[in-house]
């Protein structure tokens, strides 16, 4: 039995460890790929070469989606602004919870969809957006809704959107580098090496080793990076659950809400793969059990509901 503060503390540590692991892995991968690349294409490692270009490409694309995340997501999902007349329950609950969390009130949006779900986005608490579906407002009572919205507000408060953006810049960078590494074969890097072939046997052997390591990294690292990214995403979900309970002090509300949402089999039409990780519960309802399920679980943005509920039950 852990109290809420211990849960939060251990969540913070675990999340920190995974994130640190991710960045160590990224740096290592980029280093290896850059070296292999350098050997291959004969450009000076350490200069502003392919890594710099890849960083810019990956960085700009993610930065745009990060900076305009609220507008993009809302545009995709077709959400409308919540008003205090029609969505009284939603606006008053959100307002109250913001008082409790000590953050400015985010912009509130509603998606007309009978599948119950909710998400938060925006780059910082000042530009945050919390969005719920009409199905959620209809199916949950006030206490349950408080649990869900407090979960979303915790994402906002913890700067989860910012963290996940930085992580996806790195994943994008690794994927780009891996991709370019394979493409580089067609650009005559090899000729250069055969010319330099008589430079010495040691050099060639070292080159071969670096090439092999480079190929292995180019194949595996995008997958591994994605897996770590998803692990971070799942960890942040646990943190948001614990944070929700810190604000409302009513784990039962969130438990009931999660059960209700998961019992609902309707898929959310407004969601797509790009926005799935934002929602409180995976909008694509996958229910594979057993060993296959565990493996498939590695590719999920959200931890299994049963696990989230059992963690919450320990807090009550």
């Amino acid at each position: 039995m852990q109290n809420i503060y211990e849960v939060q503390q251990s969540n913070k540590i675990k999340s920190g460890v995974i994130t640190a692991l991710f960045f160590v892995f990224s740096v290592l991968t980029i280093y290896v790929l850059a070296n292999a690349f350098g050997y291959y294409a004969d450009y000076p490692v350490g200069g502003f070469g392919y890594v710099g270009i890849a960083l810019i490409v990956s960085g700009v694309s993610t930065f745009v989606s990060y900076y305009y995340s609220d507008k993009i997501v809302l545009g995709i999902s077709g959400a409308r602004v919540a008003n205090s007349k029609e969505d009284r329950l939603f606006t008053s609950v959100a307002e109250n919870l913001c008082i409790g969390a000590g953050i400015p009130k985010p912009k509130l949006y509603v998606i007309e969809d009978s599948a119950p779900n909710a998400f938060a986005t925006g780059r910082d608490p000042e530009h945050a957006v919390v969005c719920v579906t009409t199905g959620l407002l209809e199916k949950l009572n006030r206490t349950e809704l408080e649990g869900v919205i407090a979960h979303e507000l915790t994402h906002v408060k913890n700067y989860d959107i910012r963290l996940m953006s930085i992580v996806s810049v790195m994943v994008g960078l690794i994927a780009l580098l891996g991709d370019w590494f394979f493409r580089a074969r067609f650009f005559g890097g090899r000729d250069k090496h055969s010319l330099a072939g008589n430079a010495g046997r040691d050099d060639n052997q070292l080159g071969a080793i670096i090439m092999v390591v480079g190929i292995i990294f180019a194949i595996l690292s995008p997958i591994i990076a994605t897996l770590i990214q998803l692990a971070i995403s799942r960890r942040r979900e646990f943190m948001a659950d614990a944070g929700s309970v810190t604000i409302t002090r009513q784990p039962q509300g969130l438990i009931m809400a999660l059960q209700k949402i998961s019992a609902d089999n309707e898929p959310l039409e407004a969601a797509n793969k790009a926005t799935a990780h934002l929602y409180i519960v995976n909008p694509f309802k996958t229910g594979i059990k057993g060993a296959v399920g565990t493996f498939a679980g590695l590719f999920n943005t959200h931890p299994p509901l049963s696990e989230r509920i059992s963690v919450l039950q320990k807090m009550s």
């Binding site: 109250n96 919870l97 008082i99 409790g100 969390a101 000590g102 006030r142 810190t246 604000i247 002090r249």
Partner: protein, 186 residues
């Protein structure tokens, strides 16, 4: 890199840490102060709201003298500068019964609005308090835990009281009926 450079860097890091810890203490003190004002702000809202609500439902609840009495009691409490959240929470289930047994009132929606507003105002006061409690807890934990306690002692930051509650009394004991989780349908 010689030993002096290393020492110098270490010194700069320590100074930066001391500054950021000091800033944490002073800024959380300011935030606690603001959160106390927020509680006052919400109580003021309650003070303005309850007489209004009382007036607007008077006509609907002519047969429910008891409830009107409870509402005006709550108003008097707020007027005296006290918080009426507890009284409000006692009124709510009674209002629920009235609405359930009276389809006309249910259809009209005014009393339902009243219940929403009452719950909302007591929630707001409660969350304003929660923030203040959380902020003082953060400050107090940091004040006594290693290594930030060094900075706290250096600048003699004192413990913050948090929400003042009486040292003795009913609220420190829990009766059996209070141990059950409340079931309220709104």
């Amino acid at each position: 890199m010689n030993i002096t450079t290393i020492l110098l860097i270490a010194l700069v890091l320590v100074v930066l840490w001391v500054i950021s810890t000091y800033n944490f203490f002073v800024s959380s003190k300011a935030r606690v102060k603001a959160s106390i004002q927020e509680i006052g702000n919400q109580l003021k809202r309650q003070f303005d709201l309850i007489p209004n609500l009382e007036n607007s439902v008077k006509g609907y609840l002519t047969h429910e003298k008891g409830i009107l009495q409870m509402l005006s009691d709550a108003r008097k409490l707020v007027a005296a500068g006290k918080d009426a959240s507890k009284e409000i929470l006692e009124v709510l289930p009674k209002l629920q019964i009235v609405v359930e047994s009276n389809p006309q009132l249910k259809a009209d929606g005014v009393v339902t609005r009243l219940m929403d507003e009452l719950r909302d105002t007591s929630d707001k006061v409660m969350y304003a308090r929660r923030l203040m409690i959380d902020l003082t807890a953060d400050y107090n934990v940091k004040r006594v835990s290693v290594p930030s306690n060094i900075v706290a002692n250096m600048f003699s930051f004192t413990e913050l009281k948090g929400l003042e509650t009486a040292e003795t009394g009913e609220h420190l004991t829990v009766s059996e009926s209070e141990m059950k989780s409340p079931k309220v349908n709104l």
